[in-house]
Symmetry: C2
Subunit: 295 residues, 2 copies
Amino acid sequence: MSIKDRLRGYSHEVEEALRGLLKGKGIPAGLREAMEYSLLAGGKRLRPVLCLCFARMLGAEARAAMPFAASLEFIHTYSLIHDDLPAMDDDDLRRGRPSNHKVFGEAMAILAGDGLLTEAFGLMASTAGELPPGRVVEAIATLARAAGAGGMVGGQALDMAYTAKAGVSLEELREMQAMKTGALITAACVCGAQLAGAEPDVLARARSYGQSVGAAFQIVDDVLDVVGDEKALGKPVGSDEEQGKTTYPALIGVERSMDLARRNAAQAVESLSPFQGPEATFLRDLAQFIVDRVS
Amino acid sequence: MSIKDRLRGYSHEVEEALRGLLKGKGIPAGLREAMEYSLLAGGKRLRPVLCLCFARMLGAEARAAMPFAASLEFIHTYSLIHDDLPAMDDDDLRRGRPSNHKVFGEAMAILAGDGLLTEAFGLMASTAGELPPGRVVEAIATLARAAGAGGMVGGQALDMAYTAKAGVSLEELREMQAMKTGALITAACVCGAQLAGAEPDVLARARSYGQSVGAAFQIVDDVLDVVGDEKALGKPVGSDEEQGKTTYPALIGVERSMDLARRNAAQAVESLSPFQGPEATFLRDLAQFIVDRVS
C-alpha cells in the first residue's frame, strides 16, 4: 500500500474517534457546534497519527491510547482557531472554509478554542482507566510543556513579534518554528512512547524523530507557500515576505531550504533504526513523504 | 484569629508560590510579562485556598498539593483575561487596574490566557512526583471537566447568550452561574480531597460544600453589585440589568437573594459536619464570612 493510502487509513481511524468525543458532556449547543465546526473540518490528523504509531510500535494498545491521540488534534485545532482571530493573523479562510470567527463570531471562536484546549486535557486524563496513571501523567506533563507558553503559545507570540520586525535571522526563525509547530509534533511522538512505557533511550529517539520531522514539515510548508504545490523549484522567491512573515526560502532560497528539509527527513529515518514492523516502516516512509511533496 | 486574618494567611502562602511558577520555562519575555501582570494582580486566591484546605483537612501535605492549588489560580486568571476581551465583556478595568488587553494588546492577551490555561495543566501533572499519580490524574480529570466546555467555558457561552436575550429565568440563571463560577470553585474542593485520597462519601461532601459556597458567593456578588459594598439592603434594584446582565436581585429581590445565600452557606457548613481541626473550622467560618460580607 502506498504511503498516502496508509496515512489515509490511520487518519480515518482518528476521524472516527473524533466524532464522538464532544457528545454527552453537557456542552451548550451553540458552543459545541462551533467546536465541532473546526474539529471535524478534515485534515491529515498528523499529530494523533504520530502519537498512535509510536504507542503501537512500542507495544501499547491503540484503542487505549486513542483519546490521548485525539487530544493532540483538539490542541492543534484550538491553536488554529485562535491564530485566525482578527487580533492575531486575521485569516478569513481555513482549509478552504470560512474560519471559525467568520461563522460564529469572535467571542464564540475564543470560547471554542478555550473549550477544545481544556477538553484536550480531560481526554488525556481519561486514558488512565486503561493505561497506567504514572505513564499518563508523564505524557500530560510533556504535552502541557509543548503546547504551553514555553512551546506552541510562546512560538505564536514570537511569530507575531517577528512579523512586526525587520531582519529575522535564520536562528530566530528556526527557534520560533520549533516552538510554534515543532514542539507539538515532537510531543505527539514522545507522548505515544510514554504511554507505551518506553525507556529514556527510546524516548530520546522519539524526540529526535519528532524534532526532525517537525522541522522538515515546516520548511517544506514554507517552500510550498512560495513555489506553490506541484510547481517547479526554480521560481523567484520572497512573495510571502510581503505579508511580513519571514520564511526559509526567503532567507536561504528554495534549493538550500529543500536540502535542509531532506537532511531532517534523513535524520528522522535514522532515529528509528532499531525499530521494525508496520508502524516503524510507516513512520520512516512518512518522513520521506513529507519532503517528497515538493518535486 | 479572625476569619479575615486566617484567609489572608492562606492567601499569602499561595501568593508566595505563584511568584516562582513562571520562571525557568523558556517563556518569551513579553508573553511572560503579560501572564504575570494578571496572575500577580492580587485577589483572595479563594480557589487555591479551598483546594489546599481540603487537601490538608483530609491528610495530604500542603507543600505537595501547592502546585495543583496554584493551577486553579492560573485557570481563574486566564478566564478573567479572556472574559475582559473586547469581543467578550469588553472590560477596561480589572481589580482596579487596566485589563490585560488594554496594556498588552488583544493578541497578547489571548495568548497570555492560552498560556496560563496550558501551564495550569503542567502544574497539575508536576505534582505526581510527590503524590500518587492515580490521585493526580483523577484530580486533573475533575478540573478539566469543571473548567471545560461543559463547565466554566460553557457557562461563559451561556452568559453571553443570556445577555442578548430578554426574560432569563431563575433556573437558567442558576444553571449558568453553576457552570460559569460554581464549577471551578466546586472542583477546587473536590480536587483537594482527591489529592488526599478521599473516599467517595468524603468526595461527595467536598462537592456539596463547593457547590453551596459557590452559589452563595455568586449570589452575594450579585447583591453587592446592586446595593454596593457596605450599603444597606433596602435600596431599589435592577441597575445591573441595564447592562443586560440578569442577576438574582433583579429576579427575586435583594431580601430573597440574601435568604438564598444564607441557606447555601448553612448547607456548606452542614456538609463539613464530620470534620474537625483548624482547616475544617476555617472552611466553616469562610462559608459564613461570604454571606456576612453584606450587612
